[in-house]
Amino acid sequence: MTKEDILKAYLEDDLFIEKSYLKEGEAQKYKWASHTENNLIQIIKTAIEGELSNESGNITERKINTFLNK
């Protein structure tokens, strides 16, 4: 699975439609490089990147915290 496949797996969650973060069918077309202002999508991408680069969980958490503390 590529990082884009993993991201799409998350974006397919109903929550994204319920909360209007994405429109119907948008998740499938989503590209890793697609620009987004959505914090949830941003931190999911950070978590995926951390996981794929075998980063420790603590470092990923710190990165996400830093991002959300802005």
């Binding site: 797996a9 909360k19 949830l40 969980g57 915290n65 959300l68």
Partner: protein, 729 residues
């Protein structure tokens, strides 16, 4: 990666140099039991892992424990002095990089007279050769050797690519909680989703702490907030405890459900085995009684020769003839006695006459003897010369003293007289003659009874054989022995009881958990009310985003996992259907049923309406497991594992029999780019072998027939044993 060849030199039963070449497709090595198939499988394993499978303990053993068992007995026996080496060489062709990996393992012993000195361990030599270059390069670095081996067969794939038939049960053990998860891990990178959940959980915990601290900092009543926080922590601990308990109970419930499901499949068989076993015992008891009666009756036959006087059978005429002869004898005897009596009468008359002249012993015999000696009668004073009439008269006086009246009894004493015995015989015969007449009836009735008992005995014996065969086939099909079957019902009821109890506990726990959560909400609401001022917007947003991340991380992991289970299920069904084509009895659809703890899965066979098909036999279960193993591999087609690695398996078909063999081969040749299969199914069944060699749906590689140089029953040791290899295509 294609396995091009295996070369075996003095390895176990492969004495001398031996070679098998392989190509893409399904390569089959055919041989009966004990012909060297497992030893060939061992050879592959030995080169890679320095181990061979010990069937007696069902475990792999390292060379340092096997030592000279690695080396051919024939090679050792034929060498008088010096070193004997066993070696196996595997040649792999990396078709993508057009290079070869040559892996060799060697083990040596030294023979000195009768003494054999064993090396401690084997020696491994790995060569790498790029096809465009002439020379091969020896690989010496341990890391690189490890990398090469991993590229030939990665650890996570290994159990599903190289296995023996008898290992199939344990490779896919659905009773173990992690079997399917492990399979899914091989199939996918689900662990990445697990790791992201860990990150989400960590973030949720830290952000909640941050938020609570902020709330307390902004509290209008810090003392109350502190107390509420303590209460909150207390309830949180309890909730954690309850959640942990919930997991444990659900695990217990899942295990009980799994066991019940497994037992349910065997329940009907177990009941049947128990019923048949009871019937068998009763027949056995009857048979034993009848046999005893039969044996007694048969032993009694010898006694009856005398006790029932059977020995006299057919002697009726003999008695009559004897009677006649005895009558004649008696008649002659009477005549003879009359003659003797007449003679005696005349002799006795003479004696009486003599006794009438002078009394006996008068004169006394000494005086008479004196007169004889002097040849003169002193009574009348006359001369009596020896031999004269007077002298003879005197002598008669002496002889007369020895004469007496004879009777018939005296006469009879002087000859052999069997008269009494013959009479006794006649009288005995007379007594027995009445029995003799009924002997035939007695014999006939006894033999009638014996025949009846024998018939009954044979019928019971046949019944017993039939029932034993029925019970044996049930035991084989159900993989249960009699005592296991006897325990199944109790175990099933116990597991059901445990499942019910666990279910009640889950419900009760859920109620308590829900109350605690309500309490927690109230405390949090109170804490929130105490806040004066504004919680920073970034923190509110952070809490919201992290909560959403937490939810999405969990639900996505579950969705991805379920999707993988579905893929696995779909692939398994595809293979199961292919393998069972041509055998209607085992049709069904494999469904992987999620158990209560949400972690474990149980395979079920359902009909097209979703009804569970019960009473799966061992063959069905093994087919399902093999289908699942193939599914794990074929579902990875994106990663091209099926192209990269070779399936090597020993006797995978032995458990499910010949009906599925061709289906299995077709499926294997579709799923795997290359496979090497050791099989006995094609050994005796020549029609099946012909199908293998000619079936267009099977992508066939090389087919070999292996046979021992000396059959097992014709050898007392392995000192002359080698293996003949015949190419069949």
């Amino acid at each position: 990666m294609i396995l091009q060849s295996i070369e075996l030199n003095n390895f176990m039963c492969y004495a001398g140099p031996n070679r098998f070449d392989f190509t893409e497709g399904i390569n089959v090595i055919i041989g009966d039991n004990g012909y060297g198939k497992s030893k060939l499988y061992d050879a592959f394993w030995w080169v890679m892992y320095n181990q061979c499978f010990d069937t007696s303990i069902k475990k792999f053993k390292y060379t340092n424990l096997l030592k000279r068992q690695i080396v051919s007995d024939k090679a050792i026996d034929e060498t008088e002095e010096g070193m004997i080496s066993a070696s196996v060489v595997l040649t792999f062709h990396n078709t993508e990089k057009d290079s070869l990996y040559i892996l060799e393992r060697r083990y040596s012993v030294r023979k000195s007279g009768d003494k054999i000195i064993e090396d401690q361990d084997s020696e491994e030599i790995i060569w790498f050769k790029e096809m465009s270059y002439m020379n091969a390069k020896e690989v010496k670095e341990a890391d690189q050797i490890e990398r090469i081996k991993k590229s030939i067969l990665p650890d996570n794939i290994k159990p599903y690519m190289w296995f023996q038939g008898e290992q199939v049960e344990s490779i896919i053990d659905f009773n173990k909680s992690d079997t399917l998860t492990h399979a899914i891990n091989v199939l996918s990178n689900i662990t990445r989703f697990d790791n992201i959940i860990t990150v989400a959980e960590g973030l949720k915990e830290s952000s909640t702490k941050e938020f609570n601290k902020k709330q307390r900092d902004l509290s209008g009543d810090k003392g109350k907030s502190e107390n509420l926080e303590l209460d909150r922590q207390n309830i949180l601990d309890r909730i954690k405890g309850l959640e942990l308990q919930d997991i444990q109970i659900k695990d217990t419930l899942a295990t009980a459900e799994e066991k019940s499901e497994t037992l349910l499949n065997k329940l009907a068989d177990a009941q049947k085995i128990r019923e048949i076993e009871a019937k068998r015992k009763s027949i056995e008891q009857n048979l034993s009684e009848i046999q005893e009666e039969f044996d007694e009756e048969q032993q009694g036959l010898h006694k009856r020769m005398f006790t029932s006087k059977w020995v006299l059978k057919g002697t009726e005429n003999l008695f009559d003839e004897y009677g006649k002869m005895y009558n004649q004898f008696e008649h002659k005897k009477l005549q003879h006695e009359a003659q003797i009596q007449a003679r005696l009468d005349s002799e006795n008359a003479l004696v009486s006459e003599m006794q009438a002249r002078l009394p006996i012993d008068v004169p006394e015999p000494i005086h008479v003897q004196h007169m004889l000696d002097i040849e003169r009668c002193l009574v009348c004073d006359r001369e009596a010369l020896t031999g004269s009439e007077a002298w003879l008269k005197m002598k008669a006086l002496i002889d007369r003293s020895q004469m007496k009246i004879k009777t018939l009894e005296d006469e009879e004493k002087s000859v052999h007289n069997f008269s009494g015995d013959l009479k006794k015989l006649y009288q005995n015969g007379l007594g027995l003659s009445h029995n003799v007449k009924s002997i035939d009836d007695d014999i006939a009735s006894t033999f009638r009874r014996l025949r009846k008992l024998d018939k009954k005995r044979k019928a019971l014996s046949d019944d017993l054989k039939k029932i034993e065969s029925e019970i044996n086939s049930l035991i084989v099909d159900a993989a249960l022995n009699v005592s296991q079957a006897a325990n199944i019902l109790n175990e099933y009821s116990a597991q059901n009881e445990l499942a019910k109890r666990s279910m009640n506990e889950v419900n009760s726990n859920a109620n308590i958990l829900s109350r605690r959560k309500e309490e927690l909400s109230k405390i949090e609401a109170e804490l929130s009310k105490l806040v004066i001022g504004e919680i920073p917007a970034y923190l509110k947003e952070k809490i919201k985003v992290i909560e959403e991340f937490y939810l999405v991380a969990h639900s996505t992991r579950k969705r991805v996992f379920n999707k993988l289970v579905l893929i696995l299920e779909e692939e398994a069904n595809k293979h199961y259907l292919e393998m069972t084509q041509g055998n209607m009895s085992s049709r069904g659809i494999i469904r992987l049923k999620e158990l209560s703890n949400g972690k474990n899965y149980m395979p079920e066979l359902v009909d097209e309406n979703g009804n569970v098909l019960l009473q799966l036999n061992t063959g069905n279960i093994i087919l399902i497991k093999l289908a699942t193993i193939m599914a794990i591999i074929s579902a990875r087609q994106g990663s091209r594992d099926t192209d990269l690695y070779t399936l090597i398996t020993d006797a995978p078909m032995s458990v499910f029999g010949e009906d599925y063999t061709i289906g299995f081969c077709k499926t294997v040749s579709k799923v795997y780019r290359q496979s090497i299969i050791m099989s006995k199914e094609f050994y005796k069944n020549l029609a099946l072998r012909e199908q293998l060699l000619t079936n267009g749906e099977i992508k066939l590689g090389k087919v070999y027939l292996i046979t021992p140089s000396i059959p097992e029953n014709a050898r007392s040791n392995r000192n002359s044993l080698s293996t003949n290899i015949e190419k069949l295509n």
